[in-house]
Symmetry: C2
Subunit: 443 residues, 2 copies
Amino acid sequence: MNKDIFVQLLGQRQFKAVRSILDVMNEVDIASLLSELDDKELALAFRLIPKDKAAEVFANMETSMQTYLVDMFSEKELKELLDDLYMDDTVDLLEELPANLVNRILDTVSPSDRTLINQLLNYPEDSAGSIMTTEYVDIRQSMTVAQSMAHIKETGIHKETIYTCYVTDKRKLIGIVSAKDLMTTDDGILISELMETEIISVRTYTDKEEVAQLFRKYDLLALPVLDKDGLMVGIVTFDDAMDVMVEEATEDITKMAAINPSEKTYFNTSTFAHAKNRIPWLLILMLTSIITGTIITKYEDAFAAIPLLVSFIPMLMDTGGNCGSQSSTLVIRGLALSEIHFKDIFKVIFKEFRISIIVGAVLALTNGVRILIQYHNPNLALVIALSLIATVIISKLIGCILPLVASKVHLDPAIMASPLITTLVDTFSILIYFNIASLMFRL
Amino acid sequence: MNKDIFVQLLGQRQFKAVRSILDVMNEVDIASLLSELDDKELALAFRLIPKDKAAEVFANMETSMQTYLVDMFSEKELKELLDDLYMDDTVDLLEELPANLVNRILDTVSPSDRTLINQLLNYPEDSAGSIMTTEYVDIRQSMTVAQSMAHIKETGIHKETIYTCYVTDKRKLIGIVSAKDLMTTDDGILISELMETEIISVRTYTDKEEVAQLFRKYDLLALPVLDKDGLMVGIVTFDDAMDVMVEEATEDITKMAAINPSEKTYFNTSTFAHAKNRIPWLLILMLTSIITGTIITKYEDAFAAIPLLVSFIPMLMDTGGNCGSQSSTLVIRGLALSEIHFKDIFKVIFKEFRISIIVGAVLALTNGVRILIQYHNPNLALVIALSLIATVIISKLIGCILPLVASKVHLDPAIMASPLITTLVDTFSILIYFNIASLMFRL
């Protein structure tokens, strides 16, 4: 949809045309179209959205627009919106709104919903409870397939996903039936005969990253959430799990670049917040490299005697850093995807050791030959080649061991990535280099 | 399930007990249990899996086990398996098997399936065609809801997902009806009244990363795939989209650490393959740092006069590298999630410039004060502080510009990450540092 045409029609108050456009458009696309309007037009356009789409369009909007609309809505409009919003979207909204609007919303909903909302708001930020919804299809084992289908027809319209039905007995989850099973089974069959009793479930306090991993492992559409007493309280749906997966990858990537992760997008994070997220690690890393610098001063005599030695510092430092980050990155990602575990530490170390022998040999040979040709100095070539091999081996070992140790002591392995590894490995490469050089040239 | 008990029961030929265990277990868990058995036990155990689960267990196994089983199956067993496997899983299998087994499978399937398989195998590796399946529920607009439900009951059991039904007319896709709509609408309503006609679809040649993005954006369960003539040929399901999303994140993370990505897990990649994936970039980066080294030799006189200058090289190089990777990482991830586009380049540059002023000032101040206290040398403190500010600004600008330019010229932005940025930024930080130092100390 072309934004300009839309704005023009809206400006000319051609409401019929605007409505017919909104009628065929997807909710997500309407939300992104509305995001380009100014506040006054936004309110006007939102009221023209077909009623069955309004809540989903609202759920797909950015916080600033949601805030504006909630603030502007009449009691009646707000009530209608809240009736149609899924519980998890309402809770997401409340987490972002300013306090006065939160109170306005809590005053509008029914007392039972208010209790539920307060309960949902209390789950820890990264838990299954915080991303679950309380709307799901609930059936009994004594029902037949036909009765279950009738029950869904009656109540299912407002359930977030009706493709997995939960068989409960006094709120205890005893079985699962998929809509697929209902649709392909004869009407008279009992749910107790049809239901799966081997159920994959999580608790309200389960980490949402673990929840997302289960979705991926078992190709799930929805996952039931039980409270601490084992009673069913809600479900997590695949679309939320997908978002968690992408968010977690972003968080890992950000941490691996020595930045404190932000929940907002690049442009939505202020310049000051960006700086604040980046400075702490830069300061820590700067401190570490000052140590490397101090070590260098101890070898002043060496590079005073042979100034050429200084020119190889960047190459050795960079190669060490790069080798170390290669290993740490693969281990961090392997840990995140549960392909590598702490118990594999010796397997990983042995593998990285063998890899570093091959890598070190190739780099040492290439560089040794280059130095031989350029400087006709076999001793120098040997010093650099030996330093390279030792640096590669040590870097790869540090790179693979640190994330594994971090995972063991419940630190996030992602902080053991490129920047930290690079800075640590620098110290070692400088030490190795000047020691080998001092030995060879009897400095 | 405890593996040891299972192996023991299997060894004692307690088939009834083994069968009852397999009966309640999830397909994914059975596959991972079988992966711990040796080949002989594997064949035995696989034959004890309930028939309705066997194909899905098989689809969840590792290639080496699949190969072993296919090789060992009788004609009849192979035919049964292929009948139950979804078309996309069959194609995945064929892509991994050795040629003689591929021929065996192609001889076993029906001629029409053979044509279809060959067609699917021909789609480019990263395209929607390569991950789609050809099984989907196909209805007509003249059907009623009740007729559609009856059609699903009759044919739906073998369809990969029956939750989205595709309304076609001479293979042209004219509408979509969700199972939810069918289940909650009166029996007599016509599909033509119920169907959505605003359809999100992709082409067989659409990049699978783009496909995954659409799933995330629109919270889809399945996405129809059209051929070059616009006729419907298959669907991509959400579970495959989820896998693509995780794979793409892994690929980006790997590339960002200067490693050629591997499709296999860490342990499944051989030592030699690991070395081969890591050496090319290390060689390229080594070459770049040799240039930095060569630049240093030009300032031999400077550090011969003031040897202390050398000790600040690691700190400046590391800080520059870390600042640059912070910016490049955020831009690369923003590009991957479509939150940042090339057209935003000046907005990004301006933002990074402002951030680098704040970051540079904080780092310069911290370090300047430290040097003043440690060496009582205001000139040195000033040189380092100025070099730091300039290095931070240049690094952040290089870090944000390179990935954006890469995206514009259709290179993968992920290669413009930490290692390349670090190595490039080194040259600049050394140049800035020695020029400022030469100027201040009149060297």
